[in-house]
């Protein structure tokens, strides 16, 4: 997929929310969905079980209108967090222009975060994508939980963000940090326009 299509005058960004199961990826998308005027959002596709766990993936298309002569579209995806859905994750990750890694700030999920991050890197590598070249931001979700249960922003950074990419504390349920995260990853992705190297 090409990020910029000059012939069609279209910019399309595919952003994938990645992270361990139950970290709040779908919640992020739901919050965005709730805040986007109907005229600008497509149908959110969500394949979930009866217990609201994502089985396949979520997909939220956003039409941002014509910007500087380009029809700008964002496609937000989530991957299923459970470890046994790796084939689906690989599929969704294909052609991603940017990744939001949604970490669970709860101390007890520390290992799940690390495992998921490792899995992200493995999957990107298997597709020939260098994780250092791909725009990535971190979101540390559930920061609204009691302080003794969660790791702080700085602690999460120390644990996960060793490449010092932008990171955001969030409470996706109430929307805090959701748009900040989306804005952060969008800017990183769009700034690649200047480099003139559309993401494959």
């Amino acid at each position: 997929m090409s990020l910029v299509n000059f012939t069609a005058r279209e910019i399309t960004c595919k952003i994938v929310y990645y992270g361990p199961g139950r970290s709040g990826k779908t919640t992020n998308l739901q919050y965005v969905y709730g805040r986007v005027p109907e005229s600008r959002r497509g149908r959110m596709v969500s394949l979930a079980t009866q217990t609201d766990r994502t089985l396949f993936f979520d997909f939220l298309p956003l039409e941002l209108g014509t910007i500087s002569g380009f029809t700008t579209k964002f496609q937000l995806y989530t991957v299923p967090g459970q470890s046994y859905y790796n084939a689906t994750r690989k599929l969704v990750l294909q052609g991603a222009d940017g990744v939001v890694f949604v970490g669970d700030s709860q101390a007890r999920r520390f290992d799940d975060n690390l495992e998921s991050l490792q899995n992200l890197q493995d999957n990107l590598l298997s597709q020939g994508v260098d994780v250092r070249q791909l725009p990535v931001v971190f979101q540390y979700n559930k920061q609204d939980l009691p302080g003794d249960l969660v790791l702080s922003h700085a602690e999460m950074d120390d644990a996960l963000n060793f490449r010092a990419v932008p990171s955001y504390a969030a409470d996706a349920l109430h929307g805090h940090g959701v748009f900040e995260t989306l804005r952060g990853i969008s800017e990183l992705v769009l700034k690649r326009l200047a480099v003139g190297s559309p993401v494959a």
């Binding site: 805040r35 941002l64 500087s68 504390a169 952060g184 769009l190 326009l193």
Partner: protein, 682 residues
């Protein structure tokens, strides 16, 4: 290390107001005559008021006036970093020398000299060296030199010795002008009063002002309705209020990405109030859509910035390739367009065409050196023409050398003595290749062989016939070059295409076997096709030693005529004509006198005339026979100018008793009285 000058930072893109008028005037003066007016020029201003713009504008303007000027722009940080790297690599001295060769050095952000004693000393030394060599240095800072902490007193004095000037914050009118200019550049139009409303917000930093403009441009791009002044004011100016009212941020971006975009942020509530009403539920009606619109406007600004960045790249490419002498009409057309399909590809294609032209030109220049500067290799829009030119060069090589246009047949003086020769020449002109072929002109030095040969060439060329006319040494030189390049067949073809072949000083091919071989073959080829051949020789053919008999006999097979030395009547006619050409009036008496002087060639007679003219000019008199006689006949016994008693000499020494006392070779009088007086006085 050294940054290229931003093509957009020029004087004509700088809005001049009361706040920066003085600085701009000084900067222009410096650009017009670097190193002579204000040196060093020190400009200080708070951030965002156009220091860098001004600095680069000086560079552009100076380069526009004198493209050979060496201009270097760098920030102090780069200067320091590169210096440290050079020192570490053991190239400190080379680094210093490098800056001493710069005609115009532009150093940005020198406020970072604070507490850097070592770099201060380096800059002091460099400033002194540049000033001594009359090279210009311009520096900018965000504060006056005296306020730069721990700055060497000597540096402050150096800066004060040039001109220290500040740029103040723009006033309201200037802000409006800046906004209008930038909106026009971005091709954005706003309703009446919108820009004035933004200018009225008292944003006194130009960069922030442009950020505000970006904001309203981005907003308008995604909004269906035109912005009102009130909305614009809220969008840009409401931040402080809204920020205070906003809920505490759930997430603080840890990195400094927000610092990177200092433009005022479009606030959620402001957008909500100003723009789209949203159809969400009642409890989220105020906050919900704003969050998305806030996001949207951010994205719009980023996209606009990135998409428009291609203009900068194309402008830079235009400057670069124009500087290298290529036509850039294709790129200019791109810039005129609102939107370009894949500008990167257009740039890439342009550069590929340029590379192709360079390769074609290199090959063509090797084949025919005169093609090297040809305009056909400078237009990337027409690579086909360049390919065609090269194809022709490959096939034909360049046309053979033409006769010199200086020598014409009507400039050759006809006398009874040379009438036979001129009759033969006329016959050749009328019926080339038919009656006298080859025509061989024999004569001593300076009797006019070359003149006549080229005159015949010109006469034939006038008939539209391609004519090759050159001297024997040139012919040999070309042959050697062709052998060297392994292009002898092309070289031969060049001459075989000529309808007439004229070779001067054919006697000089003596003992040059390969030249004689080639000439022999060429001679036969041209004769077979009925082409005219003309030769000149300083020696009679029978006396030519070292020339193969087979060639000599062929030369003798046509008409061999001897050109007599010019007699007095020829000299008189030539001199009369020269006099008329130089003075605008004829002087038969003077011409007759000069012609009567002993001279074995026209050239010698012309040298006599030249001496008389120069002597007359130095005395401020018209050239006359008396003057000529005095100059050419006065006996050397006439006493030279009184000798000075001092040991110093003018360098002209009188002839000794045994030396040849040639009146014509001595300088007896100073041309100017004043000079003589000065010399006497000394």
């Amino acid at each position: 290390m050294t940054v290229t000058l931003n093509p957009l930072y020029r004087f004509d893109t700088l809005v001049v107001g009361a706040a920066n008028r003085l600085a701009v005037t000084a900067a222009k003066a410096v650009a017009e005559s670097p190193g002579t007016v204000y040196n060093p020029l020190f400009v200080y201003a708070r951030p965002g008021l156009g220091k860098t713009h001004l600095l680069m504008a000086i560079g552009h303007a100076a380069r526009a006036i004198n493209p050979r000027l060496s201009v270097e722009y760098l920030t102090l940080d780069e200067f320091v970093e590169a210096f440290h790297a050079a020192i570490a690599a053991g190239h400190g001295e080379a680094y210093r020398k490098r800056f001493l060769d710069v005609d115009l050095l532009l150093v940005d952000d020198v406020q970072f000299l604070t507490h850097r004693r070592e770099m201060q000393a380096e800059l002091l030394r460099l400033t002194d060296a540049l000033q001594t060599a009359s090279r210009q240095i311009v520096l900018t800072s965000d504060r006056p030199p005296a306020d730069i902490e721990a700055l060497d007193e000597r540096l402050i004095r150096r800066f004060a010795g040039g001109l220290i000037i500040d740029v103040a914050a723009p006033d309201y009118e200037t802000r409006v002008a800046i906004l209008r200019r930038k909106a026009e550049e971005r091709r954005a139009t706003f309703g009446e009063g919108v820009l004035d409303a933004v200018a009225g917000l008292d944003i006194d930093n130009v960069r922030e002002l442009l950020g505000a403009l970006n904001r309203i441009i981005a907003f308008q791009a995604v909004s269906e309705k035109a912005l009102t002044p009130e909305q614009a004011r809220m969008l840009v100016g409401g931040e402080a209020v809204e920020a205070a009212e906003a809920p505490p941020p759930a997430a603080e971006p840890r990195r400094a990405e927000r610092e990177a975009s200092p433009a005022p942020r479009l606030t959620s509530a402001a957008v909500a109030a100003a723009v789209a009403p949203v159809e969400s539920g009642p409890e989220t009606a105020a906050a919900a859509p704003s969050e998305f619109d806030d996001f949207l406007s951010e994205i719009a600004a980023t996209v606009a910035q990135q998409v428009d960045a291609w203009r900068g790249r194309v402008s830079a490419a235009v400057l670069r390739w124009q500087g290298e002498g290529f036509r850039t009409a294709q790129l200019d057309q791109l810039l005129e367009q609102e939107m370009v399909n894949d500008p990167e590809r257009a740039l890439r294609e342009f550069e590929e065409d340029v590379e192709r032209l360079q390769a074609l030109q290199a090959e063509a220049a090797a084949l025919a050196p005169e093609l090297a500067g040809s305009a056909v290799f400078r237009d990337p829009a027409n690579v086909g023409a360049a390919e065609e030119a090269l194809r022709q060069a490959r096939e034909e090589g360049p046309p053979p050398p033409a006769p010199s246009p200086l020598w014409r047949l009507d400039g050759f003086v006809e006398t009874p003595a040379n009438r036979v020769v001129l009759e033969a020449v006329r016959a050749v002109k009328t019926r080339p290749g038919d009656r006298y072929n080859p025509l061989v002109l024999i004569g001593g030095a300076a009797v006019g062989k070359t003149h006549l040969l080229h005159a015949i060439g010109n006469a034939l060329a006038e008939e539209g016939t391609p004519v090759a006319c050159l001297s024997a040494p040139e012919f040999t030189g070309e042959l050697i070059q062709a052998i060297d390049r392994d292009a002898v067949s092309g070289w031969r073809a060049r001459y075989r295409r000529a309808m007439a072949f004229l070779l001067d000083d054919v006697h000089l091919i003596a003992a040059k076997d390969r030249t004689q071989d080639e000439l022999f073959v060429l001679f036969n080829a041209l004769m077979d096709q009925g082409r005219q051949l003309v030769f000149s020789s300083a020696a009679p053919l029978a006396e030519l030693a070292g020339v193969e008999p087979r060639l000599r006999s062929r030369l003798e097979g046509g008409l061999v005529v001897e050109l007599p030395p010019p007699d007095a009547s020829v000299r008189q006619q030539v001199l009369a004509r020269d006099l008329e050409a130089k003075l605008g009036a004829s002087d038969a008496e003077l011409a007759a006198y000069l012609a009567s002087r002993p001279a074995d060639s026209i050239r010698a007679a012309q040298a006599l005339l030249q001496r008389v003219l120069e002597a007359a000019a130095s005395k401020g008199l018209p050239p006359t026979v008396e003057l000529a006689r005095e100059l050419l006949e006065e006996p050397p016994a006439a006493a030279p100018a009184p000798r000075r008693s001092s040991g110093r000499s003018s360098g002209i020494v009188g002839a000794g008793a045994n030396a040849t006392r040639s009146r014509e070779k001595m300088v007896w009088e100073w041309p100017e009285v004043a000079e003589r007086v000065i010399e006497e006085w000394r």
